[in-house]
């Protein structure tokens, strides 16, 4: 147990310190990579709340990344070019607040529909709703449509400066740690127990008197908000957002991270995101066709890891 805590502490320290050190030594590339890693890991942690702890297989979580990023880009766009005075701002609190608000509303509305159904219906409907957001942004010419929207000004906060890549990275890393801690707290709470019970045997939970729909919806909304938050950071990092970032292949990659890292664990999403980023970097330097080995790897893991990837899912009651 002591050893495990030590290793976990080491991972967190490495995620925070190594990129800063490399940057200091003149390799800013790794800082950017680590920033992207932290942002993806936040989204994976958010997805893990419903996929891992709640057993809800959402194939549409990239949509929340998009919503969060557009919630930064659209106010900045109007601040610069006029129109939509109500939201035209570069104020980070407003932009991030908007990101959380929009993603919670979208999660609430779509959750009301997709949580009524189970299994494969749920997978397909979450996909379809994400695709709806994708086509929505393609259709809005003012925000760049297909070509995407350049975010000319990053979010402005007092004391921190998002234009400074070191500060932005530090914010992303600290946010990641905070979100990991948050989801860990939730998973250990009474709500988390109920969620685990629903994942284990929903029918029994209903028969015991739990309104399981409401609990799942709450988890779904929290999960969406975390991914929306991640999207707002993503917008600040890339200073660009396009519908392509909402594409359902992105949702698939998020799922891959969560499952490869280990669902329903605190560190799983982070480890999955690290693996994904490394794979992507290494494979894409070897070949522009890196999706081929990546796809083969995915198939291989599903087929040959005993019982498939879902066997890697520890049961909710297993103690760490």
């Amino acid at each position: 147990m002591q050893k495990k805590v030590f290793v976990q502490g080491l991972i967190l320290a490495a995620v925070l310190i190594v990129p800063l050190l490399l940057n200091y030594m003149g390799h800013p590339f790794y800082l950017d990579l680590a920033t992207r890693l932290c942002i993806l890991a936040i989204a994976a942690v958010g997805l893990n709340l419903i996929l891992g702890y709640g057993g809800m297989i959402s194939f549409g979580h990239a949509a929340y990344l998009g919503l969060g990023a557009y919630a930064v880009g659209i106010p900045a766009h109007h601040w610069l070019y006029g129109g939509m005075d109500a939201i035209a701002t570069t104020n980070g609190f407003v932009q991030f607040g908007l990101a959380l608000l929009v993603s919670s509303i979208f999660a609430l509305l779509t959750g009301l529909i997709c949580l009524k159904v189970k299994g494969v219906y749920f997978i397909m409907i979450t996909m379809a709703f994400a695709q709806m957001v994708y086509y929505l942004f393609i259709s809005i010419a003012e925000y760049g449509g297909d070509d995407g929207l350049v975010i000319d000004t990053r979010s402005e906060f007092p004391l921190v400066n998002f234009d400074d890549s070191t500060q932005l990275f530090t914010i992303c890393a600290v946010s990641l740690f905070f979100v990991m801690w948050l989801v860990w707290r939730i998973s250990k709470s009474q709500f988390g127990m109920v969620l685990a019970g629903i994942k284990g045997n929903e029918q029994r939970m209903i028969a015991m008197g739990y309104n399981t729909f409401a609990y799942k919806l709450a988890a779904y909304v929290i999960s969406g908000m975390i991914c929306g938050f991640s999207g707002a950071l993503l917008g600040n990092f890339t200073t660009f957002i396009s519908p392509e970032m909402i594409d359902w292949a992105r949702s698939g990659e998020l799922m891959f991270m969560v499952i490869l890292g280990g669902v329903a664990t605190t560190f799983g999403p982070l480890l999955g995101a690290i693996t994904f980023i490394i794979l992507e970097e290494v494979l894409s330097t070897i070949t522009i066709y890196w999706h081929l080995p990546f796809g083969l790897l995915l198939i291989g893991v599903v087929m040959f890891v005993k019982g498939g990837l879902s066997a890697l899912i520890p049961k909710a009651g297993d103690k760490e």
Binding site: V120, W248, M255, I259, L292, G295
Partner: protein, 307 residues
């Protein structure tokens, strides 16, 4: 609204609906019988388009190319069943989704390596390339009529296969009771492979038919697969009749929405607001319809009776 334009858009909607049905029918067959979720079905649609494009250039004739491509995609479907799908039948849906997602990455990248990143346009033979006069004021591209006819023939063939042949009877029996079919001494594995091959041929056919209009391109499969999901969700997963009617419904709504929603909006809002909001709403229309239907009928419009 212009009457001529309306009829043409109606035909376009019909065409989209029929293509959607060709893709969705394979999905719903496979899901209904095998309880298997195949995300990679859209990639077969894309491969159909590319293979047909290459063969058109090799043979110099689109129609011959199409006829030769059909058995090729059927074989691809058969191979896919043996290599990817079969080891995953006993697993849960999450594994199906991830395994076939991996398969998409592989197939899409292979297509990228073989045919390059740009789309390929397919030239039509002169007989199909012209216009046909349907009525005094209505002239439509001949090829669109050909797509609709070919699609309807394929749909009718599928209907005949499923409802009036011994194989179809086994398919239907397999959908409701797999153990029983096995107990009858039928080689159920061969039946499954056959179903995959048929599904692949239908999806491939849809890709081949649309390619002369839109080009064969890398992303085409991944876009249509979600719409095909919407179709089978609305129709009721596993229901052939539901897939057909839902495909026509979705095809019509999508096409007519994009064509006429701004005109409709202009009736009750200012034209600038209408011009801005209509594209946004029409791009979401099929998903909103799906949401509406699911809210009242979570199992879709025509859920299959036997599960």
């Amino acid at each position: 609204m212009d009457y001529t334009l309306f009829v043409i858009q109606l035909l376009n909607g019909l065409q989209l609906g029929i293509l959607l049905f060709l893709v969705a029918s394979g999905l719903t067959l496979v899901f209904g019988i095998l309880d298997f979720v195949n995300l990679a079905h859209g990639s077969v649609y894309m491969l159909g388009a590319f293979i047909c494009a290459s063969l058109t250039f090799a043979l110099g004739n689109f129609v011959y190319a199409l006829l030769i491509s059909l058995p090729i995609v059927a074989v691809i479907g058969y191979g896919f069943e043996r290599l990817i799908a079969r080891p995953l039948y006993e697993r849960d849906h999450l594994d199906h989704v991830l395994g076939t997602f991996g398969a998409i990455l592989v197939m899409d990248t292979l297509a990228h390596m073989i045919w390059g990143p740009a789309g390929i346009a397919i030239p039509l033979p002169a007989a199909l390339d012209g216009q046909t006069q349907l009525a005094p004021d209505i002239v439509v591209p001949t090829f669109r009529l050909a797509i609709i006819s070919a699609g309807l023939i394929a749909a009718a063939g599928l209907y005949w296969l499923v409802n009036h042949t011994r194989t179809g009877m086994l398919i239907r029996a397999g959908a409701s009771n797999r153990t029983m079919v096995t107990a009858l001494g039928i080689d159920i594995q061969a039946l499954f492979s056959f179903v995959f091959a048929i599904g692949a041929a239908l999806a491939g056919l849809a890709g081949m038919l649309i390619a002369p209009i839109t080009e064969a391109s890398l992303g085409m499969g991944n876009n249509i697969i979600i719409t095909a999901f919407v179709v089978i969700i609305v129709g009721g997963i596993g229901s052939m009749k539901g897939a057909f009617l839902a495909a026509l419904l979705i095809g019509m709504i999508d096409t007519l929405g994009r064509a006429f929603l701004d005109d409709i909006f202009k009736i009750f809002m200012s034209s600038s607001v209408a011009e801005n909001s209509a594209p946004a709403i029409s791009s979401m229309s099929i998903y909103l319809i799906m949401a509406l239907i699911l809210f009242f009928r979570p199992q879709g419009l025509f859920p299959p009776k036997l599960r």
